[in-house]
Structures are given as structure tokens and as C-alpha cells.
Symmetry: C2
Subunit: 199 residues, 2 copies
DNA sequence: ACCTGAACACCGTTCAAGT
DNA sequence: ACCTGAACACCGTTCAAGT
């Protein structure tokens, strides 16, 4: 438990944590390096000992978000190793839950605020690892005849895009009010995923 | 042609135009009210005569973006009134083209930078009008047996989400390199939309 | 090695004043 | 009615200096 004694200690992780908290409390617009520093109890220039600039902190927060997302997906998928269809459905639901619960972290991960993702190797690594996980589920589904035969990476992008698109529209308030009166996001995504599955 | 003579003239539209240009040239991170004012040739406080705050300018830019998107969709759809399947496919392609061509405007429309969309009636109006257009195409497809029978708004969100999701992932650099070597975004979206269509 | 404080350029917003 | 200029609080970033 390496936690409460910065001033020295691991300020780097304390800053990431502070960033996530500010994000959750004030949203993207409220996230400033100076506030993050203050919340971690250090001077406004202290973060520069651990991050090159604000973009680097955002990259670290996004990377942390992707790690959590990956873990949630894994946890949702692994119990159903013998039933790919369930993996697909449960994985999609886990994705939705993560996005709705950590909406500001999710937004920062996918909202283009991070400008040069390729400059951050650990971000690239976890995001491609996440894609591979999706691909494995898709492939298992294809082998079981649950999803159509097609290049697995193409099918995986379709599936991920379907889930991601609905969730993104939802977070943007773009799902029509009359639909939301009858169905929540989880069930809308369920419907869309079921549509992809071979009858 | 009401264009080149602000100082007086319609500064409001000049500011929106300047904003779009800065966005295209420098991206979301470079968009400041002061730069917009400077580019329009007025003092940094002049915009406040026309917009309540920065959010209002962003709302205006997003609204303008939605209007253009709507027009592109209409233009892609209207020639194929008798073949709903073509409307669906061409509409999706028009969506992709708009997003790729105006990527920063597209991002600002959907990236959660605009915080209280509901406060901007003309934004709400054009975005719901756009959704209705999608719904009409979907309904025509359903009547022609091209898309499955289901509540039209639910099906419309699935279709829009599918297209929007893939495009968003693409703009975020989240489409795997190995897939992009073989297929461009347009053809990936084509594949995904074809998957939704009744065989 | 890690952190502080002063400094600089830039930003959003307000307001009194000008035409 | 529309625009300017000074002012204020806040921000990202740098750097010399402290421990």
C-alpha cells in the first residue's frame, strides 16, 4: 500500500490520481495542471519533474483509463470461455458500464484531446492490447458460427465501432429522448449487438 | 454576398468563419477566443457583443457543422429516393467523407467540448433534424425489406452508431495499422453497413 | 533527485468608455 | 448598437535556486 506520503513518495501516481478525481468532479474543462498539482499538495511546477507537459499527464490518465477498461473487459469475458456468444454480449455490456461510470475518463480517452497518441508507447500498447482482446472474442464467435466469416480485424472493428458509436452518441446527448424513455443505453447496445449475430 | 466588410457588417458570422479556419489549421487546442477575434480583425473583447462566452461560439461552430453535414447527407440521399438501400449506403459514405474532410469540426461537434448542448436551441434543432433524416432512410429500408423490422428509432441509432463509431475510432487513430494497410475507412464502413443489411 | 517561487506569454471574462 | 482598452484571475511552461 504505497499511498499517502508524497512530498516525497511517488508523486507521479498521486498526480494521475488527482487528475482522475478532478476530471470526475469538474469534467474536461476543469482539468488544469495547476489544480492537479494543488490537489496533490505540491507547487504548480512540481509536475514537470514527472511529466514533460500537460499532454503527457493526459496521456498517463488515458493510459490508466485503458488499463481499467481492459481489466473490466477481461473480467467480463473470462468466465465464458466456452460460450463465445456470451463473451461478446457480456464484453459489450462491460464496455458500456465502464463508459457510463467513468464518463469523463472515457471522453478524454477518445475525444481527441490527446493530440499525438503515438508518442506515448504505453498508451499505444494498452490500446492495441485491448483491440486484440476484442479480436479474440470476435474470432471465437466466428469459429462458433455466431458471427459471419470475414477477416477478423475487419469484423472486430465493426463490432467495436458499433458499441463505441452508440456509447459515444449517448455521452454526447445525441440519443433521441423518445427512445431513451423506452430503453436504456445497455439495452440499445444489446439490440445492436444481437443484430450482428447470425440468426 | 454579405462578406468582407466587418468593422461593421456581420461580425457574428465572420467570427464563426474565423473559428472554423483556426480549427482547421491548428486543431481544437489552438482555438482561442482572442485568436478568433484577431483573425476577424477586431479587439479581443468584441466577440462578447455577439456571443455570451466561448462555449457559445463553439455551439455556433458546431451548429454550422451540423448544418453542413445535414446538407451533405441530403444531397447524397435525395437522388436515390426509389432505392432505399442506395440511400443507406450513400448516406453512410457521405457521413464518412464529411468527417474525414472536416475532422476538427467533426471532433468539436462530438467530443464533449460543448458542455451544455441543450442550452443552444439551434444546435438541438439541427441535430435532431439530422437524426430524423437518418430515421427516414432507415424506415424506407425497412419497408423495402432491406433492414430488419424493429422500432425505427432503435434501428436508426444502431445504424448511426455503427457508422459514427468506426469514424470516431478512425479519427482517434484507433483502427489497427494492419487493417488500414488493406482497407480505407470508406470501405470499412461499407463492410459494416452491408453486414446490417438483410441478405 | 525532487521540489519551490518568480517570471513570462497567453487566455477568458468584465467593465467603463468611446463612436 | 457595436467596438476598444485596461484590468483581473487563471493557465502552461521555464528556470534559477533551494534541499
Amino acid at each position: 500500500m504505497p499511498s499517502k506520503k508524497y512530498h516525497h513518495g511517488d508523486l507521479k501516481n498521486a498526480l494521475i490520481k488527482a487528475g482522475v478525481e478532478i476530471l470526475a468532479k469538474e469534467g474536461m474543462g476543469g482539468l488544469s495542471l495547476r489544480k492537479v498539482a494543488q490537489r496533490a499538495g505540491v507547487s504548480h511546477s512540481a509536475p514537470y519533474a514527472h511529466f514533460l507537459d500537460k499532454q503527457s499527464l493526459i496521456a498517463a490518465i488515458s493510459t490508466e483509463g485503458f488499463n481499467q477498461l481492459y481489466n473490466k473487459l477481461e473480467a467480463a469475458i473470462s468466465p465464458h470461455a466456452k460460450t463465445p456468444k456470451k463473451q461478446l454480449i457480456e464484453g459489450a455490456q462491460a464496455y458500456v458500464r465502464f463508459a457510463l461510470k467513468n464518463s469523463d475518463t472515457f471522453k478524454i480517452m477518445f475525444s481527441g484531446v490527446l493530440e499525438k497518441e503515438k508518442d506515448y508507447p504505453s498508451f499505444v500498447e494498452i490500446s492495441s492490447k485491448t483491440f486484440k482482446l476484442v479480436m479474440e472474442v470476435v474470432q471465437a464467435c466466428q469459429n462458433a458460427g455466431v458471427l459471419p466469416t470475414a477477416p477478423a480485424n475487419l469484423m472486430a472493428v465493426s463490432v467495436w465501432g458499433q458499441v463505441h458509436g452508440i456509447v459515444s452518441l449517448a455521452l454526447e446527448g445525441q440519443i433521441s429522448h423518445t427512445l431513451l424513455e423506452k430503453k436504456n443505453i445497455e439495452s440499445i447496445v444489446s439490440f445492436a449487438v444481437e443484430q450482428m449475430i447470425n440468426s
